[in-house]
Subunit: 132 residues, 2 copies
DNA sequence: CGGCTGACTTCGAGTCAGTGGAAGACATTG
DNA sequence: CAATGTCTTCCACTGACTCGAAGTCAGCCG
């Protein structure tokens, strides 16, 4: 089963523009039909979904390209791929911690405003205000 | 107490370049000395630290500029600022959840590789590999 | 057969949030 | 008086898209 760029863009939820960008950058392989159009298969869909996750993890296009190249080289690169993923997992864990800290900070800010709005404390809000 | 751009850049850990960029974009007010150099005070430092947090929360320069403008208008904008912060807090919470999901996904990937490396399961790794 | 539509193609420009560097102004120091 | 250092503005570059223009091709209608 093969797909046009429009079909897979709908299936994975990326724009055709973005998918073209990814193929041009070498993130995923694609063949062409006799009119030079990109042709994809069901494996492309899985691989694109993986790419989506890796991107959301903040991994750069270039790093994903390198990882993709390793995948295409087969068994011999298993260890290298494993090391890459472990590093990325650790970074993902760090990002969870940072996201939590930022959410805590925002919660504190909101709480502060609730106190001010309830006249429990005065509006000493914010340094910039005093320069107005 | 006043500070040069270099001094506050060291104190808050942003480059002078970035701080210049922020003042030009209207994120924080600054006066100038007789040689047209930017002059900051201790409140600028606090405000810059706040900006840093808001940026880490993924809030755009333009949104921070709008929030900053509200702050400078004083009491009358308290409610609006509160609503803004609540919205940002909710987005921060959403990002924590998403970060957790991604970390879980990476953990799953790493686990999968460990299984493959231990020969517990074969290397069916990754769709792209088969096109190589 | 001519013309239209629609999906594709490439390529160049724009976006955001900086980053980097050149060229010029000024103050301090040797 | 020249060198050094820090500032100033301005313009170009980055990454990861995003948008739009212009061209190509297949299928379909009258």
């Amino acid at each position: 089963m093969t797909y046009t760029i429009k079909e897979i863009s709908e299936k994975v939820g990326l724009t055709a523009h973005t998918i073209r960008f990814y193929t041009d950058k070498g993130l995923l392989p694609c063949s062409r039909d006799k009119n030079n159009r990109r042709v994809f298969d069901s494996e492309s869909i899985n691989w694109l979904r993986t790419i989506q996750c890796l991107r959301k993890c903040g991994i750069s296009i270039e790093d994903i390209r390198a990882y993709s190249a390793l995948c295409m080289q087969g068994d011999s690169t298993l260890k290298a791929r494993y090391e890459f993923l472990k590093k990325q997992r650790d970074m993902a864990l760090k990002r969870v911690e940072e996201a939590k800290e930022l959410a805590d900070y925002m919660e504190y800010k909101v709480q502060h405003y609730e106190d001010v709005l309830a006249h429990r404390i005065p509006d000493d809000t914010n340094p910039a205000a005093k320069k107005a």
